[in-house]
């Protein structure tokens, strides 16, 4: 039994007071810990970065280790929008609508050169980075990035999720940021 349990690492406990039968800590720490390890991603995969994402979800790289095995194909229940691949200008309004349909709190991970900047497609038909239409939390470079890089991006998102103030989404700064994109 000891041999098995020693291989499993348990998430770190936040600072707090512990005694027989109780553990007291800050509420936002507990919520951050819970959210961080249960992120439901919505994959918005349009090209080769999406193939790398499939490898990321597969048994070898296994994003389930980070609590993200449950892909949400409905934006209503998704926490994290993962945009992977070239977004044509005609796709822009679709992506924006998907983002608008997600409930707060929501995060966006831009995977690959195309989603982040247009990549090699410096052309009239391609959106030169999704941050022109929706706010982005983490950018993953690469063309396409390796699954390790995508996992690194998800871990950066996890860091943001864990440490975000519970009041951030109500703040004036956040609303002003969304208004800059013409959302709400």
């Amino acid at each position: 039994m000891d041999a098995v349990t020693s291989k499993i690492s348990v998430g770190e406990k936040p600072d707090g007071h512990e005694g027989p039968g109780f553990f007291a800590t800050r509420l936002d720490k507990v919520i951050g810990l819970a959210r961080k390890n249960s992120i439901w991603p919505l994959p918005f995969a349009t090209s080769c970065c999406g193939i790398e994402f499939m490898a990321t979800m597969g048994a070898h790289y296994d994003l389930a280790r980070f609590g993200s095995e449950r892909l949400s194909f409905s934006p209503r229940q998704a926490d994290l929008l993962m945009v992977m691949g070239t977004i044509a200008k005609k796709m822009g309004p679709v992506l924006r609508q998907v983002y608008e349909q997600m409930a707060e709190p929501r995060w966006v991970l831009s995977v690959g050169a195309c989603a982040s900047s247009g990549g090699i497609f410096d052309t009239y038909s391609v959106l030169q980075g999704i941050d022109r239409i929706i706010p982005v939390d983490v950018y993953v470079p690469g063309c396409p990035p390796r699954p390790e890089q995508i996992i690194d991006g998800v871990m950066k998102i996890q860091y943001l999720v864990e440490n975000e103030s519970l009041r951030r989404r109500d703040s004036q700064e956040y609303k002003a940021m969304l208004n800059k994109y013409g959302i709400e």
Binding site: K89, K90, G92, G118, D122, T123, Y124, S125, V126, Q128
Partner: protein
């Protein structure tokens, strides 16, 4: 296509549309006719119905921009499925006003192809039932495959000539 079949084809057009053919030539292995622009739809309809030709399948239809001649060519490729013969018909339109009658009266398949030619080259097809953009965003202001418009997205400021060869 053999020489005899080419001559036959040319005579079929000439019997009804005299002097319509400007040039007949082989482009690689593809028999190509350059036609006066006025009668193009009538000629294609004639080739469709005539028992000696029966070009009843529209393979493709597209535009080409020749900026140094200030012309836009419309190219029609037809296929006779019975004899497996193919021809290409080409007309030249002025680039400042590329207007030609629609081919949808003969081939319904021309509908989306003509919308594509309009979308990328701005060719106006008179009588087309639904002439609007098909592939690009609807609020696009330019016809992107014309040479006077740059390929690159013009809203970018961080990609300069020095680093990106613009």
């Amino acid at each position: 296509m053999e020489a005899a079949a080419q001559e036959k084809l040319v005579s079929v057009i000439n019997e009804k549309f005299e002097d319509a053919i400007i040039e007949a030539r082989m482009d690689k292995d593809f028999f190509t006719l350059i036609i006066k622009k006025e009668k193009i739809v009538d000629i294609i309809a004639h080739l469709y119905h005539h028992t000696a030709t029966q070009f009843q399948y529209l393979t493709t239809l597209f535009a080409v921009h020749y900026p140094d001649q200030s012309q836009i060519a419309m190219v029609y490729q037809l296929h006779n499925l019975r004899t497996n013969q193919r021809i290409r018909l080409k007309i030249f339109l002025p680039a400042d006003n590329p207007t030609t009658p629609t081919l949808t009266t003969v081939f319904s398949a021309a509908n989306w192809m003509e919308r594509e030619a309009y979308d990328f080259f701005g060719v106006i097809f008179q009588g087309h039932p639904n002439l609007k953009r098909i592939l690009n965003v609807e609020d696009m202001l330019i016809f992107p495959m014309r040479k006077e418009y740059p390929l690159e997205d013009q809203t970018r400021e961080d990609k300069n000539d020095l680093m990106f060869g613009r």
